[in-house]
Every structure is written in C-alpha cells, then in structure tokens.
Symmetry: C2
Subunit: 160 residues, 2 copies
DNA sequence: ATATTCTATACTCAAATGATAGAGTTTATG
DNA sequence: CATAAACTCTATCATTTGAGTATAGAATAT
C-alpha cells in the first residue's frame, strides 16, 4: 500500500517550490541538495509535472523551476495523480477489463471506495496548507530508545 | 498505491468463508476454483490468517477452513493488516528511523494521516457488511465499448 | 564563447511480487 | 489398517516494478 518515492519525493520538491513561490526560478540542484535526492531522479519527476502545468521552467544560467500556480491552487492529490503510476487500490479500478470478475465482484466496490477516500483526503490539502504545518513529533510508539543526535534541515540558500 | 494480490485475494477468500459461516469447513480447493486462484497461493495466505486467529482449520478428508469468529467481528482492516506486508503510505510511518529527515519532515504527518484515513475506512467495514452489498455496475467512464459476453460466477457447491 | 541549467531518452540493478513445486502430516472412511 | 483427501511447510523461480545512473543534447545569461 506504499506510495512510490516518485510521489513522495515529488511532493517534497513541490513543497520546496511552494516555499519560494514568487521568488524566481529555483534550480534543481538546490532542491536535490536540501532534500538529499539525486538531481537526475528529480529531473524525471519534473517532466510530468510540467506537462500537467504545475511547474514552469527557465533554461540557462540563473534558470530553474517554479510553480505555475499559487500554492493554494495545487493539492497533494494533483501531484500524486501525476506521479503515481496508476493509483487505485486494485488494477480493476482504472481498468475494469483487468479482471473477468469485474461485473460481479463484491470487493471491487470496496477498493473503489477506499481509493476515493484517499483521493478525497489528499484533495483537501493544498501546498499552501502544508506550509502552515509543523513536523509531527518523533515519538514513535515502536522504537523509543537509541535516538540519534537530532538532525536538522540544511537551510536552502537562495541566490542573491 | 496498489494493494497486493495477497490482500485482495485474501479478502475474497475470507468473504467466501463468511458466506459459509457455520456450515462446517470449506476445503481450499473449492475456494480456489470459485475465485480462479491457485490452491498453492491461497494456502500461503491462510497461514498468517490462522496465526491471527481469524481462521481455524480441520485436517483430513472432509476437512477445510472456516472463520473462527462471526463475520460481523472481522473487518477488512483486520485482513489487510495481516496480509499486506507493511501498510503505511511511507516507510517512515511504521519505522520513523527509516529516514533521517523524520523529525522535521512536513510530509510525514501527511502520509500518516492518509494511512489513518484508509485504516479508518477499512475498519468500518466488516465481512458481514460486505455480504449485504451488491456488485457495482460495470459502466466504466474509461472504456465503454467492446464489452465481453457477461461472465457469471460459478456457484460454489457445498458438499452434501 | 562558455558555463550553467534544463530536456530527453536509454540503461542498469536489486528487491518485491506473484506464483509454483514437492515433500510431509493428519484423519475420515471403507 | 490402507488409502485418499485434505491441510502444512519450505523452497524455488520467474516476472515485474522501483529506484537510480548515465549520456547526449538544447537553450541562454553573462
């Protein structure tokens, strides 16, 4: 039931772009460094996001990428729908012909509703909402011993 | 974001067992035939479901499997939690140490809430609820042409 | 000119998934 | 008690998917 790293990294990247909305293009290298993700991998995620018109880019020196809409107008569902190759809890959600049982399978409706529940949730949260949030405390009910030294985010330095 | 076939097949199998609750053990071969899933694969799914005490089995001729609790007391979440190897939309949900960024990652809370939304949904639906349902109509908004000849479920014949 | 940055496609590698195989155990029944 | 019908357990395998790397090319500010 895991989301791919594409969706998760992509969301983080979009969040970085949202932080710098209206500050000019952000080069991919900066995002890669801050997030600890390879430039090459992020480049692949940008392509579909550009096609979907959530990102616009500027080439050449001082170039980079930026949101093409304000952060309030981009939801997490928008991002995940673009990056996650085939969401839907079961293949038959997107393609009913994927299974011969489709027409009388009781569980198909179940997985469809569950998929809907996720989409509704993610649709209700915009990039702008995300920026208001605080990280959740790291007190896992699983492992509470052996905490590492606190790790802090390397601040993203904007040019100029 | 897809669920594994383990969860999906397992749910269908549990639904078959629910249909025959209090009718004695159902052999795995019958379920395999009705659902079109190999006996060998279903056998693997039964093991964890037995460990979790949702299924009890009887060996030997006339043996088989049956629910160890009434269908009202087993939710879809119960089944998925047992069969899906690591649910949680991100690895950091189950294991915060999976990522160094854990302590100050804005998206971790997001994925946690989303996972919660799914679990809540599946928790609210029992096997008994499922049996009340009707299959959803097969009018996909994607492909509406070229419908195959209707396929009907082969009825499961109980012994005696 | 040239260094910087994005664009596009192809390729590799490992892990997970989905499924099968076979040997062994229990037990109802004739 | 022999046998066949079932479950149990472990191993194996093939395919797909996911994650990431590599390479070549195009645009543009300075």
């Amino acid at each position: 039931m895991k989301l791919s790293t594409r969706s998760r990294y992509g969301t983080r990247m979009m969040l970085d772009l949202a932080r710098h909305y209206n500050e000019g293009p952000v080069p991919i290298g900066e995002i890669a460094e801050v997030e600890g993700i390879s430039v090459k991998y992020l480049e692949q995620l940008i392509i579909p996001l550009k096609k979907a018109k959530y990102i616009k880019s500027v080439r050449g020196p001082k170039g980079g990428h930026m949101l093409s809409k304000p952060p309030e107008e981009i939801s997490i569902a928008d991002i995940v729908k673009v990056l996650e190759g085939g969401f839907g809890f079961s293949p038959c959600i997107e393609d009913p012909a994927a299974c011969k049982r489709t027409s009388d399978c009781l569980t198909r409706g179940l997985w469809e509703e569950t998929t809907r529940a996720v989409l509704d949730k993610l649709d209700s949260i915009t990039l702008s909402d995300m920026l208001q949030r605080r990280p959740i405390p790291d007190q896992s009910p699983w492992k509470s011993e052996g905490r590492e030294t606190p790790w802090t985010v390397k601040p993203m330095i904007r040019r100029q």
